[in-house]
């Protein structure tokens, strides 16, 4: 009974902030884009009462703080138009299917150490990462169904591209994390974080365990698998430079061309929730999750150390938001890949490199006599 209660509480405490973060990620995306392009960005919305507070009100308006609120309301009150030519069942199903996996992934991610007696993870699965990959691969169905359901050219092309792209990069992604498991020896995400706390982060395994021969030899392995995972995560979440599924300049807006109102909103939320899930996975697998190798923040707090527990959640959020910023940054850094270049990069560069990395890591571990 207590377990059910705490699980429900944790779900509420994760989903609420996640949706808020998604809304503000859209704002951050707009602001970061604006700053990189020498613009001002959204700075119009002003709320009646708060806007009249002397310094804070204008500052929040300038920051565009209320834009997510207004965007949400706008999405809800817009006409939800269903074109006559769509396949209705799939048309209704697709937004939900693209939204749900993004939220399900978050279930296994340890977003903090412990708070009181509770572990800060919704489901402490011992096959956490397998579950994640299983769920992530479901995400492609939402996009493919949306492309199929729309029953018109551009969404269909977007759907085809998305399916090919996401299936190809899933392989590279899956292979890039195998070195991590070779090093850690466990699939549980909590255990992976504990291992990183003791032996240094997987992306850069130097501190913690000292500068042994094994640590030094594992640096290239960690860096390579991190880079491959990062690039695959960009491709999986359909972010630039791999946004083949949307590619506004070619396909209107790809798979969600025919969608309006909150159905479009759901695709949007799904996309950003996926980004958060990807950022959280990278934080957990490669950057040590909620740990920080200074000030004794590497170990889970004893019962009663509430502040430390909250600080751990803060560290996790900080790392995750850092990745979100890099996602947004990269969007304006690189042009979109051509479809064949994308496939070439996926199949002929990433996958062989990931395979070689597995062998390299295994060899390092075998030779340094673990």
């Amino acid at each position: 009974m207590q377990f059910v209660f705490f699980t429900l509480l944790k779900i509420a405490c994760v989903l609420g902030p996640l949706l808020t973060l998604v809304a503000y990620a859209v704002l951050a995306e707009r602001k970061v884009s604006a700053l990189i392009q020498d613009r001002v960005g959204p700075n119009r919305v002003n709320l009646p009462l708060i806007g009249s507070i002397p310094v804070l009100g204008p500052f929040l308006t300038k920051l565009g703080f209320w834009h997510p609120l207004v965007d949400g309301v706008k999405s809800f009150i817009k006409e939800d138009f269903t074109p006559a030519h769509v396949r209705k069942i799939y048309f209704w199903l697709a937004p939900a299917i693209s939204l749900v996996p993004a939220f399900l992934v978050v279930a296994v991610i340890p977003f903090g150490s412990t708070l009181g007696a509770q572990k800060m993870v919704i489901a402490d699965l011992n096959v956490g990462i397998l579950y994640t990959f299983g769920i992530v691969s479901l995400g492609v169905y939402g996009i493919v169904l949306a492309g199929y359901a729309a029953n018109s050219k551009f969404p269909f092309l977007g759907g085809i591209r998305a399916s090919a792209q996401m299936i190809s990069y899933e392989i590279a992604m899956g292979m890039s994390v195998i070195p991590v498991f070779l090093v850690v020896g466990d699939l549980n995400l909590g255990k992976i974080i504990e291992h990183q706390a003791q032996n240094g982060w997987n992306a850069f395994p130097v501190f913690g365990g000292g500068f042994g021969l094994q640590q030094l030899l594992l640096i290239p392995c960690g860096v390579i698998s991190f880079v491959i995972f990062f690039i695959s995560a960009l491709a999986e979440t359909n972010r630039l430079p791999f946004d083949m599924a949307e590619s506004e300049s070619e396909l209107v807006s790809g798979y969600h061309t025919e969608y309006s109102s909150m159905k479009f909103g759901m695709f949007f939320i799904g996309e950003y929730a996926n980004m958060f899930a990807g950022a959280a996975m990278m934080t957990t697998l490669f950057l040590g999750g909620w740990t920080l190798p200074i000030l004794g923040l590497n170990v889970a707090p004893a019962e009663g150390e509430w502040f430390k527990g909250l600080l751990h959640i803060g560290i996790f959020m900080g790392k995750m938001l850092g990745f979100m910023f890099i996602f947004m940054w990269i969007r304006w850094m690189l042009p979109r890949f051509r479809y064949d270049q994308l496939m070439d990069l996926g199949w002929r560069r990433m996958i062989p490199l990931a395979l070689a990395n597995i062998i390299l890591t295994a060899a390092v571990l075998a030779l340094t006599n673990r």
Binding site: L35, V40, M333, L334
Partner: protein, 185 residues
């Protein structure tokens, strides 16, 4: 001319030079914008904009240095106005006398329909009394069409005075000087 296209080197094919180049450019722009080094778009409604001298904005009536109406109701501007935006009601034989010396009359009513006005400046050019000027106002708004017809009081209030132009004062002085003999040159 044949452009020689060199094959990409091994290093270039790693996409690394392109990525690093992009990184540099975006970082520079991001930091410059966030620190305010880059001049961004003027925030127009909050930051008042400025027009250069000679800008042809809305036409307003002006008063002379003594605060008197300059317009003498000659109706030349009404006649020349291409979109027929100006309507002048002359005082007639029983109307109010002009409020300045050396003028026969002044308009009883002077209306400019700002919705019709095309800001061509012909009224200013044709005015023999230098009584109407295109000022710097460019965004005129109203909630109804009626509000956009500016009457004489409004036009005079908006136009202000033009002390620099004292055409009749000099004429008066010249005329007075004619009275005396010998004529001062």
């Amino acid at each position: 001319m044949i452009v020689k296209r060199n094959a990409l080197t091994w290093f270039e094919r790693l996409y690394l030079p392109a990525i690093i180049g992009g990184l540099k450019v975006t970082t520079r722009h991001f930091l410059n914008t966030i620190s305010g080094t880059t001049k961004v778009t003027q925030q127009y409604p909050e930051e008042p904009t400025r027009v250069l001298p000679g800008y042809r904005g809305a036409p307003y009536l002006v008063r002379d240095q003594d605060g008197a109406t300059k317009c003498v109701s000659c109706q030349l501007c009404e006649f020349v106005c291409p979109p027929k935006a100006i309507r002048i009601t002359p005082p007639g034989p029983t109307g109010q006398p002009a409020d300045r010396t050396n003028a026969e009359k002044m308009p009883e009513e002077f209306e400019i329909n700002m919705l019709r006005c095309i800001f061509c400046g012909l009224c200013q050019e044709v005015c023999p009394e230098e009584a109407i000027f295109l000022k710097s106002d460019f965004s005129l708004t109203g909630l109804a069409r009626g509000e956009m017809i500016y009457d004489k009081e409004k036009l005079l209030a908006l136009g202000g005075t033009h002390p620099g132009i004292q055409k009749w004062k000099h004429k008066l002085e010249e005329a007075k000087e004619q009275e005396t003999f010998p004529v001062k040159v």
